[in-house]
Amino acid sequence: MKIKKKIPLIDQHDKNGFWGGKFGGSFIPETLKKPIEDLTKEFQKLRNDKNFIKKKDFYFENYIGSPTSFVKLENLSNHLGGAQIWAKIVSEANGGAHKIYNATVHALICKAMGKKYIVGDTGAGYAGKMLSMAAKKFGLKCKIFMGAKDIKRQKPNCDAIRKNGAEIVPVYSGSQTLVDAVSECMRYWVSNCDNTHMAVGSTVGPNIFVKICGWSTSQISRELKIQILKEFKKIPKKIKLINCVGGGSSAYGFWSEFIDFDKKHIELIGVEAGGPKKSKLHAAPLSRNAKIGILHGAASYVCQNNEGQIKETESISAGLDYPGVSPIHCFLKDTKRARYTFATDEEALNAYKIVTKFEKLNPSLEPSHAFAEAIKIAPKLSKDTICIVNSCGDAKKDKYILKKRLGRYK
């Protein structure tokens, strides 16, 4: 298994849609074969269409607000000693998180295909919020599938979704979180694929959805590369790109331009959700060595039992609370290009506390997992090491959880 250079990772799959011969694919019911084939053709056409690219770039700049800023966290760096901590504040993007890239591209594809309805899943509510925003912007009717448990814990985002005129469909089956929302959304698409477009909220699902999402979020690393060159004049010798990983859409977007570099030069570190310290449950299939399984149309490392039943996950962060992970990250793990670890709920909360104490930054619980790793490793690293954290979401949505757990918000 080997990564090829100079080809985007999203395109390094075989003809059956597998990365490294075993991750990804399209395990779908017959009914979805045609809609997925149509979508695959359409996406192939659009990504090579100059007018479409122009349109996408226009909206990325004028609607999403690219580029998001790249800043040094001076106080935090001084406090930790050791490596310099930098952050790419992707949460500045319209709506407050990286999910807007994928949502905007899906809305544009939906329009190009002449479909009037768009549906999507959401965990933390960001994918849902952004899809509802994009739907509103482009005049599409929108339904968001969300686990009942997540609806409760991510109320601010739910309010935003409704305000944008989208309908939230609560999902009561299973663990009532993201995994069930994705299943229900896919079931809805099976029943309505003739007039409805489905947007999968991360780099997961059947092959084509991994590709569309990765293609959209890769904007983050394109910006970052330019910003690094501007800041340092050349790419520094020791860089660590630290990103949280749930489905893995922000991490792929953050890393895609840097995959060709040697890992000793630019290390890619993915931080999964370790769940509560004392709990056996987690949402960390990569770092806690889950077996390969098939979930939501793709083969990846999946938290499951010996029988192939998908395991319940547990994390304070709704956005990371997912038993599977992108096939692309499985590929990066097996080729050893990226290193994956996890942070517990407590470590993420603690990281939030430290970051907000020293910096004017308000990272949501998802990137707080990434900050936890940065805080852990920075003191041991040399001053010329540049740790860059993708602050991919804003904590506004977590204010009730933070108030409850820390007694304060911000």
């Binding site: 019911p29 009914t31 099976v190 149309g297 499951q304 039943q309």
Partner: protein, 267 residues
Amino acid sequence: MKESLINISFKKAKEEKRPALLTYTVAGDNTKKKSLEILKAISKYADICELGFPHNTPIADGGQIQTSAYRAIKNGVKINDVFSIVSKFKKIRKDKPIILMGYYNMIYQYNENKFISKCKKSKVDGLIVVDLPFPENKAFALKCKKNNINFIQLISPTTSKKRLKKIVNNSHDMIYYISMLSTTGGKLKVSSKKILKEYQKIKNQNKSKNVVIGFGITEKTIKSLKKADGLVVGSAICKEITNSLKKRQNTVTNVTNVVIRLKSKIK
């Protein structure tokens, strides 16, 4: 090669000038023992029994079958239990075809080869794997065929003409036509005339294949589709199990009555 039990069952129904009745229940719903009893009782009226191995992330099943599957899993049903239900059933009714239906992850975790040999040992006649479509299923389907297990291909209203041809060519004795764009148990939203027209397209490819229609078939709708080679009823049966449990009534009797009524409508 010996003629398959599945083929024989269709022939028998044809001789009686009616479509074959295929039932679907979830193995272990609501217990291992009860589900075997239900299977035994309804097999007197059904021509072919489909048995689902329960999965907790079913992407193509509607509410009724999900409920049955969750119930079975909660009651501790494992893949080996599914096989033991089949074995026990086959000891008493060795002429009744059993088709196992489920999602690929369970087969994948169990190991394909081990799964097939276990199917063979417990005398499973056919397999439906919902999320392993053509052509991805080619290798697995071939393995099944080599072991005298029918791999049942699915065709849906979205299947293109070109693809339909290929699927029929690669099918074994039976093909499953999905009546409409829906998960299992949806309300039949397409006219029976239109469904039968699509069905006929499959038959025109190869008359010798037994084509069944499923999804949305209930006591109300079954009669209108009786021209088909076979008709599958699943959610309506699962729903009856749920209702009987709720009312604390005998699931075996109630479900059997549903099957008797279904059968009477297509005679």
